[in-house]
């Protein structure tokens, strides 16, 4: 093979690589650069690590991080719900195709629409509390979006409800592709529903569950802005009780005119998310080797 023929494939992909570098690489480099500058308008003087010091020294940033970490608690719930519903649907109960469409609807709807509807439902005088009061469960009629103690959990309910839909569809697709003869053989051998789930279905689904968990971790750390923005009144409220790192970045950039601070927080979020994803895949690879 001549040197020129070895280069040929790379030349073919060069335009796409250049395009990707421009679209993703350039902004990323600029964000890294801005994180070391005090930016006013479109540029500013170099200030070293000062932006990072300010961000890490601000209690609001750590509060935001804590809220993101709290949202990770939703992932086991989402996995469990997705698993249960998908397994039930895979049993092909009457009307299962219709149910499949219904459970996927939340994921098709745009987050702002879902969040606005949920927000109305969870208002203090909204339908959820009215129903609870009608059922004489007044003690459960909380100020779902108005109380600092409850608001983040309410957002979590919405996230679980919507994001589980993706899990259900992913899991169901995997379940429907399983070799049914294995399950039938287990049935003949006397394995009950639980045994079949635990010893046959779950091991077969490990890959898709891990994939879903990785996606969910990324979502909870770096893609819940729309939920928080709508449910938290555009500000992560009440107070700062639903503020997450994404909103912190948004506020720093748009509302406080601090692009340098926003960039420093973005870089940290990018690195932490990257490291977590790397670790998750590493754990998965190690598990596969055993």
């Amino acid at each position: 093979m001549t040197p020129s023929s070895r280069l040929t494939p790379y030349l073919y992909v060069l335009p796409l690589v250049a395009l990707l570098a421009f679209v993703f690489g350039y902004p990323l480099l600029r964000i890294f650069e801005f994180s070391f500058k005090m930016v006013r308008g479109i540029d500013g003087p170099w200030i070293g690590l000062r932006n990072y010091q300010l961000v890490l020294g601000q209690s609001l940033f750590w509060e935001s991080v804590l809220h993101n970490l709290q949202l990770l608690l939703a992932i086991p719930v989402m996995v469990a719900i997705s698993l249960i519903v998908s397994v039930l649907l895979s049993e092909r109960v009457a009307g299962w195709k219709l149910y499949r469409i219904i459970v996927f609807v939340p994921f098709v709807l745009a987050i702002p629409i879902v969040a606005v509807v949920m927000k109305r439902m969870f208002q203090f005088s909204g339908p959820v509390n009215e129903l609870l009061r009608w059922m004489s469960l007044d003690f459960m009629a909380l100020d779902w979006i108005g109380s600092s103690d409850v608001a983040l959990w309410t957002v979590m309910i919405l996230i679980i409800w919507r994001e589980s839909a993706l899990g259900i569809i992913l899991f169901l697709a995997r379940l429907l592709s399983l070799d049914e003869s294995v399950i039938e053989a287990a049935k003949i051998d006397g394995a009950n529903w639980w045994h079949r789930l635990w010893h046959i279905i779950l091991p077969e689904m490990r890959g898709v569950i891990e994939f879903y968990m990785v996606i969910s971790v990324i979502t909870m750390l770096a893609a819940v802005f729309s939920y928080i923005y709508i449910m938290g009144g555009g500000r992560g409220g009440p107070g700062t009780s639903t503020e997450v790192v994404e909103l912190y970045i948004f506020n720093a950039l748009i509302r406080s005119s601090l692009p340098g601070i926003a960039s420093a927080a973005s870089v940290m979020l990018f690195l932490v998310t990257g490291v977590l994803i790397f670790l998750l895949f590493r754990v998965r690879r190690r598990a596969e080797n055993f």
Binding site: I42, L54, F124, G146, R235, N251
Partner: protein
């Protein structure tokens, strides 16, 4: 010899034709020269979003204006400032730019994106437009007023009557307010509040309450940048008062989960006694209730010179430093302040223009007329929250009110949070402190 199909071109004809062509060319040149004298200007504006009819008014105005060709563009709410600043940084800003009040345009002044108007606009026109103190910096003024936004407390007169209160004599002092709230509550009505979920009620509360302990708007700036201390009881007393309303059970129970406008709707719907509102809502709300929406300044508890002053925020227009012909842009702004244009503004928007010479005889609604006479024409102050750095607004102004209403913090704790945020702002923005301190000098007058 056959006759040519074309007439013979004689020397005489040639000369005549040449003369005609030359004349035509000269006339063409002249008309081109004349066209070049009509200036082309860009105007970026916002406001249709809060004042329906404004877009039509602008389109009609630029069509009517013959001294220049003005190309208007309605901006999206999210980019009013950033779009202008980015364009200005690139040297492509429009000649005329819409400007929100206070810090929302002052940052552009500090970045040298806006021109001072004192040397461009006639002094009487500039003063009549009421650009407000918040547009003053370094001895110059950077906006003309365009339309006012009176801000006030509103109340439902029917509910006042039901509670045995005089609907024409709303409470003037804090003690009177507490008595009124008590009576409203006893009559089965939620006395006071609105919706604070989106945070704006919190901001408006500061708009009305913080000035009560201030002697000048400059004092507010000193607080926001940490040169004065929110831990001083007089500077957080307004939050203590809010906590008092909460502890006495005078705030509506769903306040924390409602947004600003649905909260105001409660007053109009006769479900809430007293709330905070803005002038542009008054014509519709007054009509909907048959004139039963009253207005008042926030009952007084403070001892500052600004206590009990009506609040009038004003939206405005400015001229960018990129404007090729600032005099032409200034002439257009003066045109918008002419009596005919003020009348056209009223007709298109059913709202008041910001000009003290506006002929208010056209106002039919007694409430709107009263508001104009008492808020627009009498001594007033601008919205103090427009002086806040964005970081303070987001971190302190909004969360404090929300948390007090939710019962999570006290007024004193709100003061601590505000003081801490002011210090934080200084750390984050060392380069801005000096500009704010200079601004304090311009804002030191009480009106």
């Amino acid at each position: 010899m056959t006759k040519s199909a074309y007439p013979m071109l004689t020397r005489r004809n040639l000369m005549l034709t040449s003369a005609m062509l030359a004349g035509g060319a000269a006339l063409g040149g002249l008309s081109k020269g004349a066209a070049a004298q009509v200036k082309d200007m860009d105007m970026w504006y916002w406001g249709e979003q809060e004042l329906p009819g404004l877009q039509k008014y602008v389109n009609d105005s630029v069509a009517k204006y013959k001294a220049a060709s003005v190309k208007p563009m309605l901006q999206d709410t999210a980019v009013v400032i950033s779009q202008f600043q980015t364009a200005a940084a690139a040297g492509n800003a429009p000649d005329v730019q819409y400007l929100w009040n206070g810090i929302y345009h002052m940052e552009s002044v500090w970045l040298d994106y806006l021109r001072g108007l004192k040397s461009l606009i006639k002094p009487d026109v500039l003063a009549a437009s009421n650009p407000t103190m918040l547009s003053h910096f370094g001895g110059d003024i950077y906006r003309t007023g365009w339309y006012p936004l009176p801000m006030f407390w509103c109340y439902n007169k029917t509910l006042f009557e039901k509670a045995g209160l005089d609907p024409e004599a709303p409470p003037k002092t804090w003690d009177e307010l507490l008595v009124a709230c008590d009576k409203l509550k006893s009559s089965g009505v939620e006395p006071l509040g609105g919706g604070i979920q989106d945070g704006y009620w919190s901001e408006w509360y500061i708009t009305h309450s913080l000035p009560q302990q201030l002697d000048s708007l400059g004092e507010a700036v000193e607080l926001f940048i940490g040169d004065k201390d929110f831990n001083d009881p007089k500077y957080h007393e307004h939050w203590v008062k809010l906590a008092e309303l909460k502890s006495k059970g005078f705030l509506n129970k769903d306040m924390s989960s409602l947004e600003l406008y649905p909260g105001i709707d409660l007053v109009v719907a006769g479900k809430l006694g007293i709330g905070q509102t803005i002038g542009t809502r008054l014509p519709v709300d007054s009509k909907a209730t048959g004139g039963k929406i009253g207005y008042m300044t926030m009952p007084v508890f403070g001892k500052g010179k600004l206590a009990a002053m009506p609040v009038v925020d004003v939206q405005g227009l400015g001229i960018s430093t990129n404007a090729e012909d600032p005099a032409a842009a200034a002439a257009f702004l003066e045109f918008l302040q002419s009596p005919e244009q003020l009348k056209a503004f009223w007709e298109a928007t059913n709202w008041l223009p910001s000009n003290t010479t506006f002929d208010s005889s056209v106002i039919q609604d007694a409430s709107v007329r009263g508001l104009w006479e008492n808020w627009g024409l009498k001594p007033n102050i601008s919205n103090v929250t427009n002086l806040m750095p964005g970081q303070f607004y987001e971190r302190a102004a909004i969360p404090t009110g929300q948390q007090i209403v939710a019962g999570s913090i006290t007024g004193e704790q709100a003061g601590e949070l505000a003081a801490k945020t002011a210090k934080e702002w200084k750390d984050f923005n060392p380069d801005m402190v000096e500009n704010y301190r200079k601004w304090v000098k311009d804002l030191s007058s009480p009106t």
